[in-house]
């Protein structure tokens, strides 16, 4: 049998069609540049999504199936790794944005200079970013306006200067958001409606977002939420320059004799192995999978993985960690309304404050408890079964809420993603192995924030308040960063300030991998803004040549 011929070479090949890959594709194709996108997962359309808690939360309808796409995790190299669905993100066209709620706060000015702000923190590898808030600000606006973000400019008292208002007013106030605002008001703390990837009113030819109970962790059958799938992918397709190939699993980035990236070797939808050659290759697989792909791409020139002469690929990985204080109210909260995440936020304890005795802080916000739908709702300490379990379900399902946070976890050299030596995925490739131990600062910061969260609940009149402190990082919020740090110094970073590999001049990474520090905020707005910035730079460079 003849091998299948390779597809013709293209200007740009993007690996991944999630938040960052689709954002880059939109920008490049709208500049008239031909893009081939290779997406590992399927291309699902809105007709395939629905309001089915069992399928979406419990049966891997959108989440990766751990039997097909496992990862392994350990806390140190001395330990045998265990198989775990660590920090999963849907692998499909649209990526994590397919099933997200889409909290889209901006990072603050200090997020880009954390080393300068905090100084030397023993055990951590804090670094200033090679770009500033001002560098990214125009792209925040571009994404907010292309996407349709609902929020209120100036409402977050800790936000950096912005060149433009939000395109849509904030989302309606849920009862859990109302409680959060009340608690913050009582305490004298700033709070604001969480900026969201949803339309509070019709925008740009799109109808207002339908506010369902099946939101966070569910796909959107109405097509009205703002996501890479609903916005950037259609934008790119409209140009006629976007060749999006789902079910295309890239196994390796091949290099040419000069050590440049030549093409992506992938199993196509028929399972045939072909190579898509390109002048420029952009990785947009998410920080874990992009690092894995680089490490899988070994060659004589790059024996430790592509662009990994520094041994930094996969290191300094950060994951945030989501936890909360929870409480119950006499009056109903209906935390499932809006899926539990049409919320209110505060950056009151986001910025670094020396007097707290730990570095930095994080975004805190109102939420349902866990996934506040019947099967998956629970309260900490609820028994697994019996009359008391049933009583708790009955009495508190409609009356409970969380004030939640993500920690700004510290980057550490020994925290890393590499390839597992034993476990392979369903396609026979070594899976990502996570080696991770939280920094003491992460735990102290988590305790501090959760104590503040409990105070908000108390000030709002909650009872039965429980604090769920973090004692380990489980990757439970699907945020991932740092595996391909950007920086000006090739000995301490993988990518330059344009997210181009120091060692491979036609290879870029545009997901969360380039972020030198995790920050304490939901990263995807910044990931998309940065991808837009990089894509524009690539397009400018091509125009000049």
């Amino acid at each position: 049998m003849k091998p299948k011929p390779n597809p013709p070479k293209v200007a740009v090949c993007i690996i991944g069609a999630g938040a960052s890959g689709a954002a880059a594709a939109k920008v490049l194709t709208e500049r008239g540049i031909d893009v081939v996108a290779l997406e590992k997962g399927p291309w699902r359309t809105r007709e395939t999504f629905g309001g089915d808690e069992l399928a979406n939360i419990n049966r891997y309808n959108l989440w990766p199936d751990p039997l097909l796409n496992p990862r392994t995790v350990r806390t140190s190299p001395d330990e045998e790794p265990t198989v775990d669905l660590f920090c999963p993100v849907p692998q499909m066209v649209g990526g994590g944005t397919v099933h997200w709620q889409g909290w889209l706060p901006r990072f603050t000015e200090n997020d880009f200079r954390m080393r300068t702000v905090v100084g030397d923190l023993p055990g951590a590898t804090l670094a200033d970013w090679p770009i500033s808030y001002a560098d990214l600000e125009p792209y925040y606006s571009k994404v907010e306006w292309a996407f349709g973000v609902s929020g209120q400019a100036g409402a977050n008292g800790f936000e950096g200067p912005r060149s433009r208002d939000y395109p849509c007013p904030p989302m309606p106030v849920s009862r859990y958001a109302e409680k959060f605002h009340l608690g913050c008001r009582e305490l004298g703390w700033n709070s604001f409606q969480t900026p969201q990837a949803a339309l509070s009113r019709p925008f740009n030819g799109r109808p207002a977002t339908v506010i369902s109970a099946f939101a966070q962790q569910h796909g959107d059958p109405t097509g009205t939420r703002s996501s890479a799938l609903n916005v950037f992918v259609p934008d790119a397709l409209r140009t006629g320059h976007y060749d999006l190939r789902p079910d295309s699993y890239v196994r390796e980035i091949a290099v040419d004799g000069r050590g440049r990236a030549r093409g992506a070797v992938y199993a196509d939808a028929d399972g045939d192995l072909v190579e898509q050659q390109a002048e420029v290759i952009i990785l947009a697989c998410g920080a874990v999978e992009s690092a894995r792909l680089l490490l899988l791409s070994r060659s004589g020139r790059f024996p430790n993985g592509l662009a990994n002469g520094s041994d930094l690929v996969g290191r300094n990985v950060t994951f945030h960690e989501y936890s909360a204080a929870v409480g119950v109210f006499d009056d109903p909260i209906y935390a499932w309304a809006g899926g539990g995440y049409v919320s209110a936020s505060s950056f009151q304890f986001y910025e670094h404050d020396e007097s707290r005795g730990h570095a930095s802080g994080g975004h805190i916000a109102a939420a349902g408890v866990g996934i506040p739908l019947p099967i998956n709702w629970s309260l900490p300490g609820r028994p697994a079964w019996g009359p008391e379990a049933k009583r708790i379900d009955r009495d508190y399902f409609n009356h409970s809420m969380a004030v939640a946070m993500v920690i700004h976890d510290m980057p550490q050299h020994e925290n890393r993603v590499d390839l597992d030596e034993r476990v392979t995925d369903a396609w026979g490739l070594p899976v990502a192995r996570i080696t991770l131990k939280p920094h003491l600062n992460d735990l102290a910061q988590g305790r501090f924030l959760i104590d503040r969260n409990a105070e908000i609940l108390e000030a709002a009149g909650a009872t039965g308040i429980q604090k769920v402190y973090i004692d380990r990082v489980t990757g439970n919020c699907s945020h991932q960063h740092g595996t391909t740090r950007m920086g000006d110094d090739p000995t301490s970073s993988v990518l330059d300030r344009w997210c181009r590999a120091h060692e491979v001049d036609n290879l870029y990474v545009v997901d969360g991998g380039p972020f030198p520090t995790a920050t304490g905020a939901n990263p995807t707005l910044s990931i998309m803004a940065n991808a837009w910035r990089v894509a524009e730079h690539i397009a400018d460079g091509r125009g000049a040549s």
Binding site: A55, N58, L68, V173, A213, A337, F397
Partner: protein, 214 residues
């Protein structure tokens, strides 16, 4: 119906009796009235009802790697239930001289507590969790659960999942906890389902300014 059954009559009666202790019937319906056993028996019957079609018109037909993964998972879970029934009966005979399904409910509770402890669970753990409490927002991988963890998980799923999966009969699970829920999967799929009525009663006014600028 036979195509939607896995258990034999004895297994079915045993698991149904156990489920009735996981979510007991009181002044409100429990697992028995919701038909949690029907939900589970259909789940274990094969891979034909893993995912409802999102418009409620039937079930997805799985193929390829996805089908293989689900068959592996179902096979593993079946084996745990088959062994679990044997364990329940063995412990029941040893302690009370009779098979599990015929015991008094208080005796059944003692047997279930014993099984739960043997799996390392404590009554303080969350639903479907054997051992330490779950991080918020995550569920444990189903295939990692032992018999008792699966029993709790599937009882709950059969009580609270959309009725299309064979449990939550007449939506009694949702009524028990006051979840109004959509009338059908089709209501959500078509975009008619909204939860705005359960938002805060007072909403701030916003300018209606032009939002159509690109």
């Amino acid at each position: 119906m036979t195509a939607e059954r896995f258990f034999d009559a004895h297994q079915r009666a045993t698991i149904e009796a156990a489920m009735a202790r996981i979510i007991p019937t009181d002044d409100l319906p429990g697992a028995r009235e919701a038909g949690s056993i029907d939900f589970l028996d259909r789940y274990l019957a094969g891979i034909g009802s893993i995912y409802a079609r999102p418009d409620g018109s039937g079930f997805e037909v799985l193929a390829g790697k996805r089908a293989e993964a689900w068959q592996r998972r179902i096979d593993a879970i079946r084996a745990r239930y088959v062994a679990g029934v044997v364990t329940l009966d063995r412990l029941s005979r040893a302690s009370f001289g009779s098979e599990f399904a015929l015991l008094e409910t208080s005796q059944q509770d003692r047997i279930l507590t014993e099984v739960e402890r043997s799996e390392g669970g404590s009554t303080g753990s969350g639903e479907g969790q054997d051992g330490d409490a779950p991080p918020l927002q995550q569920t444990k991988a189903e295939i990692d659960l032992g018999f008792f963890g699966l029993l709790c998980l599937h009882t709950r799923q059969g009580f609270y999942a959309d009725p299309i999966y064979g449990g939550n009969r007449d939506r009694v699970g949702w009524q028990t906890i006051g979840f109004p829920g959509p009338t059908s999967l089709a209501e959500v799929h078509s975009g008619r389902y909204s939860t705005l009525a359960w938002f805060a009663e007072s909403q701030p006014e916003h300018d209606a300014g032009a939002g159509d600028e690109a």
